[in-house]
Symmetry: D2
Subunit: 470 residues, 4 copies
């Protein structure tokens, strides 16, 4: 009984807070907002932060309903501009067509914790957007403004190392999304002198990394992830011998910045900086998973290609059939069982390198003749490598050009598909998603634009060795 | 001959640079700009910086001609949205109606010196705009983006003092626009412990103050400027006795940021900060010129007012006539001669305070009985004070509400017209423009919004004493 | 065979290095050292850092043998000064009596890593000193100079918190000597808003904390350590309610600075700083172990006191005998078994507070009626409390005034013995060394000097409640 | 009458302050000083700062009288040590022989403004020392401690440039002692990109430069000062062409640090730093006055030399006589009249270079044929050059080796006398003191020690060209 009463009281207080927030927003884009916007925005921001889930939902409904442009007015001005083509009419039209919501958000942003709150608001909005498509235009306004404000020209590149504040390092541990960091000792290995970690910060969010990338400095392009992550990795090589910078993990920290391009800029800025620090490092590449490969392979039926010769396509289809025959139901179960259990003699995806003592991997050295089983494993590896090359370079309507999200990201950034490494990630997740394969994407600053253009027009830049697989 | 040849060669080089810049801009908003925008923008920015005046002009023409939205497409989408009112159609419309120029500017801003260059570009654009109205829409795009980027939420408030870098202080000296700073010793006086100077900075322009304000901490609201500027002013009063913070100068440093609201935010943020540092300071006011007063007084014919009683208006007109009679041609010569020459016994605008030994001024104490001349001077002072009160509070169509730009700025910010001080600035400029009068505008943080609303609706908030003058 | 050869070669190289180091040192205090001391010192420092253990030992022998003052010359000048008492003769005498070693160390200190190396050298020297008393004078020179250089006037007080570099926090974890820090999560609890950690740094050793203290902000003076260390301690109280700052741990980080007073200065500087931040915190106390109490109690025979009345001493001796009777051999085994084993119904040292649910302790509330065992436990507690009070306030020749090192430190700093808390530390170490008791020493800045003087003259300042125990 | 009374009252207050200061000092080295020294020292320091001149004098008397070691005790311990030679006895002796005043100063230094005050105290002490030799031992204690604390290992090297705080630049202007800085515009020229200014700071005196040096980066070793000081000097040369770093001014800022070696360390540290920044700069030299040359030349009678051949000495004496004959009384009037008056056709010391249009000087190009006068001027120049070479390289008992203080400073630092430049400084001061000549001293880091040793043993390292003059 008391419970219910107090809940009612809470609801009433919450409703009051919401209705005052709405008033603030109306004032903010009205006359009062002209003179005293910072104070009004500060009130509104604090009110928003006190809203419970229901209040937030209603507030988004309000944003979607009340701050749209006036369709009749826009239409009138569009006609006028189409007639006159005068710059004055263009100015009028552009002003009228921009949703007033954008001005509201810009004014909210003037408050002390404005930017931080808007980024958090966007994260909540994206959550709601999944089930409420009416918020599409609201979200477009957020994305538009955040892209303008989190422009790389405004971001600071910060090196994260063992001298960084614990506060920041804790966030790195928390947000690492590719290869989980298992506590402070694990983190420390990733900040040793042969490693680098860089993050982007916005000046008004000094405690919030936006995105960060982890890099290993190496003598050769890496073909397996385990040696890079081992906590007891050997003492770092002489810096004079570094030739390769391998980006082995990139993680976003701010869900509210979805759609704001950050990773592309981060990789290139870090590459430039490392090129200055280590003039002998000329190769900038990634070591990346293919997270949708297993799923694709399980579902694909007959491979088709307009670009490859029919004979080549036929051979690949035969290989796919043979692979499936060798693994019967297993392929259907997505190879996943192979991970985590040592009971199978020759898992199709095990890495020879990963089995070796030195952990350096040894792509292509094969798993020496072990009779029938060994031969099957070899055949599996070859088949997976070739099918992966097909997957990443093909543009069949259904699968789309490089439908793998990681591939899409790097190829769209202008990277080249450089090498496919079977057995490069034998962790449970690596086997389940990528069947143990990993890819090196190569960032050659001179070819970025051409590679990107090829990708935009439906092609994929690939190295001679990858093309040789087909 | 050689001269002309080399000029021709320079022209050719310049044309090449311009045409490559145009190519960069097209790439930047095209496909290549998706993948490698920072590098392309960096090239474009450096090319722009090397353009001579002709090249800059042609570049602006290009910006005006090529990067407008497509009128037919906008019209089509406006019709569609007016029909459907769907959020998806709104998103399409808003995207199509925004000039692609804005995206171009956002991408240029990604380059290392991007923001700095765009601000400089705007300054050059404003210069061109005076004679070329086709640039109106280009300028609107600049103003729109710069307002979003130089949002007060992104600016840092920095106290400027004698521990600031010489580099910065030199810029303060150079940009002071209200009361000129005559070298380092003069500056130093303005940074003593009873003075404050604050500037706004943008994080990516760490060496460029955007705007700054100079404040005097005082025991009473000031009625004359000279005592504040005297280099040999007495040792500062005990900080415990400060009750008033007087903003006596505010200067913009970046012509390229015209139209971007900065002063309004700066005054309020400084007032908040001083209120924290000096809890006993409760009065935040200005000591401001009325730079268009002399000009108005010289031209105005018969005063009319819908708000004052006819008798009051009649009295004012009589006073105006008497003033003119006393000064015959002089008023026509804008009182300016009075400045700089000591030969007249009782200049109409001399400040009793300014004549006194202590320089503290003494509003209204009168210039002791000097017979006929003295009486005339007194009458002048009273007439000027009342006519100034009329000028600053009236809204005759022709003159507009507070057509004085300084008054317009403070009243629109929500300040109140607090006191008119005759003879407060007897410098040549002060006499010529303001006939020696200065005004205190009062910033009372609780009344800001109401004051602004009154001003927006055609009225002017004024103190009882100012209203008493009418 | 090869082994031995290469060892011989190493020895030879080492000997060469040592002999060059000796040459450098001789040059450094000789003529060459006048002009180029920084370069010579830099060479010497680097050579010292490469020495193996044998080389270090021989180097110390050299320091002990070669850089003493000339006894005959000192004697001559002492006679001359005793005769003349002239300032000139005093200058000569003081110069001659100072071991040239000090000038050598001052010149070594001019090298880039000089100070750091000298502090490390001292740590090695102290290690040797345990077995080689010839190094006494060398060590005195080190202590003399380091005390002058690590003068509190030169040290920076730095607050350590979760925004501090991981590099620093790692050293805090490593050097905590009183209550071990069990990893990063444990550390984090000690840096929450109701806790403080401060360290002293020397400007030329920016990565090396010298000493640090951990403080808990509380509502009441604490009577048990466990509640302060619990990782899941409740959310911090409202800062408005803090009344007590309890120093619960102080740890040196630099063994090479032994004998250099740092802790005394640190406690007082932190107290001043907290008093400014929290004006309502008026009580600055410690919660300290009595690490030698168990040992003393095991060995002491009959208590004697010239200051207490004979009857009181007699009562204490009776109590000691009864305690021993109750615990027979156990007291001889130093009560240590009680820790870590739950098998005894009423361990003599268990804290009632520590058994309670809230962990806040509850001094004196007794361990509710448990029949005979309970009565025995109560009697044990009372006896231990009184015997501890006797131990800490007495000055029997054999035991010395407050022969406990922690008591000696705080009492010599001018603190007062404020309260004895039985059962305050039931960790294994706490039981073994202090029989579970802890002490609050109170720092009242107004009484520091008087308390210290009393201690210096053989007395101990104690609160009324402690005196009441006797 | 009132005057006198109030003076008496002031005296009484002053006496009270002094007597409390004396009490503080006694406490500070007594028992109380053990526990609460920072608080006592803080009181004492503030009291000292309030003393008037008389009080300071009496305080120094106290320092001289009360804090000496006990002669009998020192003598006893000196005998004991001479007998035992034991390290323990050495420790006792060293402790007893050190004046307790040093411990007093070390404890005063623990107070917040301690170091700053002690440096100022020393400056006042040096002033008193001129007339009161009883303070010799007090001063020796100050110098001893300040040398230990202002050890170059503790100092920070700071580059002073146009981005430095005005506060600091103002002190540079004020303390420049060699070539006066005439205001901010003049200073700015000395901070342009082809110039450098570096200062030493102590970490606890962050606003107080201790000493600074001004450097010009040049293509050739400079032979005249005027071109370096001209405010309108041409735009800086391409940094790639810098080959020489010329130290043209070095100034102490702290009179209280007299006797503490700073300049020697500063020059070498700056040379190292510039060598890193400009690998092609290999020549580090000075352009220095010979401030005592005119005085020496006016007084010297017959030149004698044990090192030169008699014929050479004879030739020099002839040249001296001829010079005197040519200038009769003028040489007696120290050539000073030549400065500042343009009326003489061929002043003996005018620099051809300084007369030229480009101001680059042109050593040895001669002052074109002007007949007799011109010939006399040439002869004067040659004579002055040779006499100066003699002066700077000779060690006649009376004049001492390089009795010129600037020469003594650089030669003792290990520099080499590289070149003598007649007519290099035609300012009034340059003519009066140095007869217009300036010297390049060369700092070759490899020869520092050898050059210093030669100087210490009575010789002077000079270049072949300087030696050729003799």
């Amino acid at each position: 009984m008391f419970e219910r009463l107090s809940q009612a009281r809470r609801n009433a207080r919450e409703r009051g807070e919401l209705s005052r927030l709405v008033d603030d927003c109306r004032q903010l884009i009205g006359e009062r907002g002209e003179s005293n916007s910072v104070a009004i925005a500060a009130r509104a921001i604090e009110r928003y932060r006190r809203l419970a889930a229901d209040g937030v939902r209603e507030f988004f409904d309000l944003l979607a309903g009340e701050f749209d442009p006036d369709p009749a007015e826009v239409l009138r001005l569009a006609q006028q501009y189409a007639g006159s083509r005068s710059p004055e009419d263009l100015v009028r039209l552009a002003r009228a067509a921009e949703p007033p919501r954008q001005e509201l958000l810009r004014r909210l942003n003037r408050a002390p914790r404005g930017t931080k709150t808007l980024v958090e608001m966007r994260a909540q909005l994206l959550h709601r957007l999944r089930t409420d498509r009416r918020l599409v235009a609201v979200d477009a306004d957020f994305e538009h403004l955040l892209s303008s404000w989190f422009n790389p020209g405004f971001l600071r590149l910060v090196q994260v190392d063992w001298g960084s504040p614990a506060l920041l390092l804790e966030k790195i541990i928390q947000h690492e999304a590719v290869h989980e960091i298992d506590g402070w000792a694990d983190l420390r290995r990733r900040l040793e002198p042969d490693r680098r970690c860089f993050a982007f910060f916005h000046p008004v969010l000094p405690d919030e990394p936006l995105i960060f990338v982890e890099v290993a400095l190496l003598e050769r392009m890496p073909d397996a992830i385990a040696p890079l992550l081992r906590r007891d990795a050997p003492a770092p090589a002489d810096p004079e011998r570094f030739r390769v910078a391998a980006f082995y993990s990139i993680s976003n920290c701010q869900p509210g910045l979805r759609g704001v391009n950050l990773g592309n800029f981060l990789i290139k800025r870090v590459a430039e900086r490392l090129a200055q620090e280590f003039p002998r490092v000329r190769t900038f590449c990634t070591l990346s998973p293919i997270p949708s490969f297993a799923q694709w392979l399980a579902k694909v039926e007959t491979l088709k290609s307009a670009r490859l010769k029919p004979a080549a396509v036929q051979a690949l289809n035969a290989e796919l059939a043979a692979l499936r025959a060798r693994h019967a139901g297993e392929l259907g179960r997505e190879f996943a069982l192979a991970a985590g259990s040592g009971e199978r003699a020759g898992p199709p995806v095990a890495a020879p390198g990963a089995q070796g003592a030195d952990g350096q991997g040894a792509n292509g050295q094969g798993a020496d003749g072990q009779g029938a089983d060994g031969q099957g494993a070899d055949a599996d590896r070859r088949a997976l490598e070739r099918l992966c090359a097909f997957y990443l370079t093909h543009t069949e309507p259904r699968d789309g050009p490089a439908s793998d999200p990681v591939a899409r990201f790097h190829l769209n950034n202008g990277a080249r598909l450089e090498r496919i490494n079977p057995g490069a990630d034998v962790s449970r997740k690596g086997l389940k998603q990528s069947l143990g394969l990993m890819v090196n994407y190569l960032y050659d600053l001179d070819d970025i634009e051409a590679n990107h253009e090829r990708f935009a027009s439906g092609g994929v830049s690939a190295s001679r060795s990858v093309r040789g697989l087909l």
